[in-house]
């Protein structure tokens, strides 16, 4: 009887995941049934996203832990946490999936493979399912399984179109790097299990305080586990795959990887550190870590390394997707800053930054895609004069890039502002100065695109990129959100503040 209510309760908490799974199966079946005419498949995906979004949102306010381990010891928290923090990240994933479906409607690359569109969406939903479990996982086994589910789908997707040699190169590189890092992570997990005898994060939290734990082994295990997660969020020194994969993968998948999989990785990292290593949270919202591993020093070093490497490498790029890849590495560095301060305020900054990053990064990729549809090129040199022939796309891209730089009055500034506020409040002034100087560096490569679009005269005839009405609406709505949150960010911050609840403690 107890077991049954436990199961019902658990299932009710994973309703969004169930919806995604059903959608995955329906997509595969639909692909088999309608193998002649597949034009309905994207709509199935759209509806599934909306339904999953509904079930995710109605979870708001309820929080609970699913699949409890039996109550032998005092800790009875399960392997899956449904809380408002997970709702926030799941919505980030769903919104970006929604946009990716919209992008796929008009992406030339995706239109060329329309007879395999069923698999394409099924794989995307596989990724989403993996991300959902990653966001909520509180058990090392579930963490590993969900990461593998997401990774395997994304390896296939990054080489899915097979239109260019680059596609296969991207997929293979992604797979090789991914295999190594997940192997490392698995090794780290096994060490933790060996030390504590448990895979449940809550249990580990209680167990690693015991004086018998070998701190050196634990630190080694932490670094190995971070290698696995750092690979997903493309933080240095695990970022080498990012530029190649971003450049080679179809642009819709690149955009998806840069936002959704990064979001899932960050959610996982935050939850992992919070549940496993925090001893208590003081009334000011500062996290006090167990004295077993110095996360802060490591994260500071990695964050600074990541943003500096990302920004300086981006300076030399001539391919738009590659440039945005390095820029996304740099942004991973900024986002890590929010974690570095180890406080609720830092997490708030991450949530705000992520919502903004979602909009501006997807917007930039959308414009790049629309231009590539027409010109077939993603080279920055081919953008010469585009701002004059296609002013709408030019101005929109300008706004997205300015927002990525973090200049007011765009939402990117608000994201950066909250990060720096968190840093200054934690009295980490030097780190803040380094991050600010980094954003000055980033200005150069973002503005270089503007320079090509508006300042440089094209040698040959600049093509006129015409945009269809749905895409105009899509781009303008993203621009509108960027500018609105740039001058009035109360709703954004309110939403993020109400989603700070991380289950446990």
């Amino acid at each position: 009887m107890m077991e049954n209510t436990n199961l019902y309760h658990s299932l009710s908490l994973i309703l969004p995941e169930i919806v995604i799974s059903v959608a995955l199966i329906v997509l595969v079946l639909a692909d088999l049934i309608f193998h002649k005419d597949k034009k309905y498949i994207p709509y199935i995906a759209l509806v599934s996203i909306l339904v999953a979004g509904y079930y995710t949102l109605i979870q708001y306010g309820t929080s609970g832990s699913a699949f409890l381990t039996s109550g032998k010891n005092t800790i009875s928290l399960g392997m899956f946490a449904a809380d408002s923090f997970s709702i926030f990240f799941k919505m980030i994933v769903l919104v970006s999936t929604l946009f990716i479906v919209f992008f796929s409607f008009s992406s030339e690359e995706i239109i060329k493979i329309k007879d395999r569109i069923g698999e394409y969406y099924a794989l995307i939903f596989g990724m989403v399912l993996g991300m959902f479990f990653m966001i909520s996982a509180t058990d090392l086994i579930l963490i590993y399984l969900s990461m593998e589910l997401m990774s395997l789908s994304s390896y296939v997707l990054s080489g899915f179109t097979k239109l260019r040699e680059r596609n296969s190169e991207a997929a293979l590189k992604y797979l090789l790097y991914g295999a190594v890092s997940s192997g490392l992570m698995l090794f780290g997990i096994s060490l933790v299990y060996g030390l504590t005898g448990s895979t449940n994060l809550y249990a580990i939290n209680a167990l690693i305080q015991s004086p018998e734990i070998n701190l050196f082994t634990l630190a080694f295990a932490c670094i190995l586990i971070f290698a696995g997660i750092g690979y997903k969020i493309s933080s240095a020194p695990f970022h080498f795959w990012t530029p190649d994969v971003y450049e080679g993968a179809p642009i819709t998948i690149t955009a998806f990887l840069s936002v959704a999989s990064k979001a899932a990785g960050f959610a996982l990292l935050i939850r992992f550190i919070k549940t496993t290593f925090v001893s208590y949270i003081d009334p000011l919202g500062m996290w006090h870590l167990l004295n077993v591993f110095d996360w802060r020093s490591m994260l500071v070093a990695i964050s600074i390394l990541t943003m500096t490497l990302g920004n300086f490498s981006a300076l030399w790029q001539n391919n738009m997707k590659r440039m945005l890849a390095y820029s996304s590495i740099a942004h991973a560095g900024y986002l890590l800053l929010g974690l570095v301060v180890l406080s609720n305020q830092g997490i708030l900054a991450i949530l705000i930054y992520f919502s903004v990053y979602l909009v501006m990064n997807l917007g930039a990729f959308l414009v790049v895609m629309l231009i590539a549809n027409k010109t077939g090129s993603e080279d920055i040199d081919d953008y010469d004069g585009l701002g004059h022939t296609s002013p709408f796309l030019g101005i929109s891209l300008a706004i997205f890039l300015v927002s990525l730089t973090g200049l007011p009055p765009t939402a990117g500034f608000i994201g950066k502002l909250y990060l720096f506020v968190a840093l200054v409040d934690a009295q980490m002034i030097v780190v803040a100065v380094i991050a600010l100087l980094n954003s000055v560096v980033s200005l150069y490569y973002y503005v270089r695109v503007l320079k090509h679009m508006f300042l440089t005269k094209s040698v040959d005839e600049t093509p006129v990129v015409s945009v269809s009405i749905p895409n105009i609406i899509l781009v303008s709505s993203l621009v509108f959100v960027i500018l609105l949150f740039g001058v009035y960010f109360t709703p954004l911050v309110d939403a993020a503040q109400s989603c700070l609840v991380i289950l446990g403690l």
Partner: protein
């Protein structure tokens, strides 16, 4: 008081114009130009309305109730969770004797620059849309009293300026534009950091008795608002006020531009189209000194007093260095650009004196430099339009060809030299009187007076090289000024001479504010609480 939000109107009118222009057709270039001109003219009217109902005896600076035309609304108000506190940002505008001259200057220079933009032919729509955005940013900086709002406007100008130099500029425009952009962004990130630091160090007393962190400049000026553990609070023995002051000062100094941060200016000026040079020299440079007077001085009075000698030193270096480099120039526009560096040095010197006379002189010099340099760049523009060269040695004897033009040039040059009966004389004299009266600055002041001599040298030499001597036969058919150019020069000339003869018209506007600024900066003791201030 006026029954409508006049400061918002004067700030956002250009943005409205920008949207109108975006919906106009490319071919309607004439109407776009007239629209821009109309909007800038309307700004002048609004500025004059402000002036007409301006209360000359209100001090402003640190006292909210003596600011005029205040508009204060809640903009961002996030009732936080306990550990985060409230985040409160006000939409807070108002003017006092410090900002009133700048508002007048911005309206005037924008109008003149709009007139001088008449022969822009390339992408007219984009040009005037960006021009108006720039205008809004400048006006916003001068009327904002909330640090956050100030910063938004401050940054808002960067992008239009980048494009205006980068698209419509000269041969090395791309280099000049990105140099300007990166330099100023580099400066403004420090301003941002200090802004956040101040936010955490001070709180403002709300009507309901609670204390919340604040971006309000006026609340940040009151030492009683600082908590003992704030990193920028004087009560905190480990405070970082000195470092913060230097960072903030550097952020503003890049805009002035103060030696050694000046290297972007000659590039930007030489490459920018004439109207943008006019705006750059006429208004943008003043934002740096305005920021120092509005923010650095009253928020950090203790550090200001400690560092006044260094500020004066940098002023002196600016004066002498700018003048010496100007003397060596062969390009007319570059010469004027370096003369700007020299003339902004007077502003720094006057500010550093911390006396009423000196600061009056500094603000008056900001206004006068705005009008005079605007005129000088217009002068370069006129001759460049006709001859497409700016080499000082390419000319000669133009006086016989363009007598009226030569007349205006003479007025502007003499004003720049600081000839009595021109406005520049009065402000430079006040600066020197103010600085000389302070014992510690006396030597620096004496050296700085050399700047006048050097100024006369390069200006008169230029006058001679271009306008006198034998006529260069190449330019035998140059036309004198047309009606539009008259319309640009006449108002500026009138103002320059009028303020030279009757400086009180401007000095009275700023006097009571300067008095309260000097009083506040020289007497405020930051380490003890002064409740009533």
């Amino acid at each position: 008081m006026i029954g409508f939000p006049i400061l918002s109107l004067i700030t956002f009118l250009p943005i409205l114009g920008m949207f109108l222009i975006m919906f106009m057709k490319k071919e309607q270039s004439k109407s776009i130009k007239y629209l821009t001109l109309g909007i800038t003219a309307l700004q002048i009217v609004l500025a004059l309305v402000l002036l007409a109902s301006y209360n000359y005896s209100a001090g402003g600076i640190y006292e909210e109730k003596s600011f005029q035309f205040i508009e204060k609304f809640k903009w961002i108000n996030i009732s936080g969770i306990s550990w985060l506190g409230n985040i409160k940002i006000d939409y807070f505008m108002g003017i006092d004797g410090l900002s009133m001259p700048m508002v007048l200057l911005t309206a005037l220079v924008s109008f003149v620059a709009a007139l001088s933009s008449w022969n822009i032919e390339k992408s007219v729509k984009g040009y005037f849309a960006l021009f108006l955005l720039l205008d809004a940013g400048m006006m916003g900086v001068f009327v904002s009293l909330d640090f956050f709002l100030f910063y938004i406007f401050w940054e808002l100008m960067l992008l239009p300026m980048y494009f205006l130099i980068g698209i419509w500029g000269g041969p090395r425009k791309e280099y000049a534009a990105i140099k300007f952009f990166i330099y100023t962004l580099f400066g403004s990130v420090f301003i941002l950091l200090v802004m956040i630091g101040l936010y955490f160090s001070a709180t403002e007393l709300m009507a309901d008795g609670s204390r919340v962190h604040t971006f309000s400049m006026i609340a940040l000026m009151n030492p009683a608002n600082y908590s003992a553990d704030g990193i920028l609070s004087a009560l905190n023995p480990d405070n970082l006020r000195l470092i913060a002051y230097i960072a903030l000062f550097a952020g503003f100094a890049i805009k002035i531009p103060m030696f050694p941060f000046h290297t972007w200016l000659p590039d930007a000026h030489v490459e920018a189209p004439t109207p943008i040079s006019v705006i750059l020299a006429g208004v943008l440079l003043k934002m740096g000194t305005y920021g120092i007077l509005r923010i650095s001085y009253p928020i950090f009075p203790d550090i200001t007093r400690d560092l006044m000698w260094y500020i004066a030193l940098f002023g002196m270096v600016n004066i002498i260095y700018g003048a010496l480099v100007a003397l060596a120039q062969k390009d007319f526009k570059k010469l004027i650009a370096y003369s700007s560096v020299s003339h902004m040095g007077y502003v720094l010197l006057g500010m550093a004196s911390l006396t009423t006379v000196g600061i009056n002189g500094a603000i008056f010099q900001m206004f006068n430099h705005g009008t005079i340099t605007a005129m000088l760049f217009l002068i370069v523009g006129v001759v460049y339009d006709r001859t497409h060269t700016r080499g000082l040695n390419d000319f000669g004897g133009l006086a016989s060809q363009m007598p009226v033009y030569t007349g205006f040039v003479t007025v502007a040059f003499f004003a720049a030299i600081g000839l009595p009966s021109m406005s520049g004389f009065v402000s430079e004299a006040l600066v020197f009187i103010g600085a000389f009266g302070v014992d510690s600055l006396r030597v620096l002041t004496i050296i700085s007076t050399l700047g006048i001599l050097l100024g006369a040298a390069y200006m008169l030499w230029t006058l001679q090289r271009i306008f006198f001597g034998p006529l260069n036969e190449k330019w035998a058919s140059l036309k004198d000024l047309d009606a539009r150019e008259y319309a640009m020069f006449i108002p500026l000339t009138i103002i320059i001479i009028f303020l030279g003869v009757y400086p009180s018209a401007m000095l009275n506007i700023m006097n009571s504010s300067v008095n309260s600024l000097v009083h506040f900066v020289t007497t405020t003791v930051s380490t003890t609480s002064l409740g009533g201030l």
